[in-house]
């Protein structure tokens, strides 16, 4: 059973409108790399540079914060990753 990645609403234009993308990997980083392989547009949306997420991107694993060192957090089949964007307006 693969890992489910929940795509942020503003990123769904990069995933053909898909809200959930199924990926494989042993860590959050591997899962996100697999996501980018499937949908290359997600790379710029998520990563400032290789292995460095944009500061605005938050990662939650099974509904709990994966911060800090999100990318090396281990995942197992059936886990869920949510990609969320920091908000600043008022």
């Amino acid at each position: 059973m693969p890992v489910k990645v929940h795509i942020h609403a503003t990123h769904r234009r990069f995933t053909d409108g898909q809200e959930i993308v199924l990926v494989e990997g042993n860590t959050v980083g591997e899962c996100l790399n697999h996501l980018v392989q499937q949908f290359p547009g997600m790379e710029k949306a998520l990563f400032a540079k290789k292995d460095k997420l944009h500061n605005v991107v938050e990662v939650y694993l099974n509904h709990a914060s994966a911060h800090p060192n999100e990318l090396v957090k281990p995942v197992k089949d059936g886990d869920e990753i949510h990609l969320i964007l920091m908000l600043a307006g008022g």
Partner: protein, 253 residues
């Protein structure tokens, strides 16, 4: 003590078993700082004033402009050009004359934040930028004042309640600065998020329910969905992290 007029005014919430006369008196004795009187601040201030929070301090340096009016419902067309704190105070006093509304027409900064929060029992985040939120977060922790975070963008919003020294703070999930830019907001989003923040403030003063502590509540109006995520205190947080010395003490226990 509540006056007979106040008992009548707040009757529908005094009827709530968790509130009662005692709870209403607690609200009357409470002092709240609302940092920002924009979109979030409008709904927070309106509902805390209506609920009978005794003293409300509003801080905002800005003046009302036409582009504010889609979301900042305390300000009307006739207020364009006025100081937001003056416009807000006038409306809030018309809503509930008995509430003390203190206005401070200043920009929150490193040098004045400590003075501005002085005497308040709760700090409510209604800012429109992250740097000032972090100033408030740090000050709240230093002064041990609960901090009620809220933020919005577009159809989305988020809320988290911070009890200094006990629960994850805003900085615990800090990933670095983000570019400051003009932020799109649908008017109803800060109304919803501000009302959740106001609910948290009221619950805190009454000592009831389950606060959004160590819980980040996300709202997405597009999907009409609330989602909750667990957040953790970061021992290395530069605002609320456990000092090395006390960590060492704890490990000896």
């Amino acid at each position: 003590m509540l006056t007979s007029k106040e008992k009548e005014r707040y009757d529908r919430q005094i009827m709530i078993p968790e509130i009662g006369l005692e709870g209403q008196e607690k609200l009357k004795r409470s002092r709240v700082l609302i940092a920002g009187v924009g979109g979030l601040g409008s709904s927070i201030a309106l509902y805390l004033t209506a609920a009978g929070i005794g003293r409300i301090r509003l801080v905002d340096h800005d003046s009302v402009s036409l582009s504010n009016l889609n979301r900042q419902v305390l300000h009307w067309e006739e207020d364009i050009g006025r100081k937001k704190v003056d416009s807000a105070r006038e409306k809030l006093k018309k809503l509930n004359q008995s509430i003390e509304i203190e206005t401070i027409d200043q920009t929150l900064s490193e040098s004045n934040v400590s003075l501005l929060v002085e005497g308040c029992h709760a700090i409510v985040d209604a800012m429109d930028n992250l740097p000032t939120r972090y100033l408030l977060n740090r000050c709240a922790i230093q002064k041990n004042i609960p901090f009620f975070h809220g933020a919005v963008q577009g159809f989305e919003g988020r809320v988290m309640t911070i009890l200094p020294g006990k629960t994850a703070c805003l900085r615990c999930i800090y990933r670095g600065s983000i570019p400051e830019e003009k932020i799109p907001v649908l008017g109803v989003t800060p109304a919803i998020i501000g009302c959740v923040q106001a609910t948290e403030v009221i619950k805190y003063f009454l000592g009831i329910g389950r606060l959004l502590t160590n819980r980040l509540l996300l709202y997405d109006g597009r999907d009409a969905l609330f989602t909750e995520f667990t957040v953790y205190r970061n021992p290395e947080c530069d605002h609320c992290g456990i000092p090395v010395a006390s960590t060492a003490c704890e490990s000896l226990e």
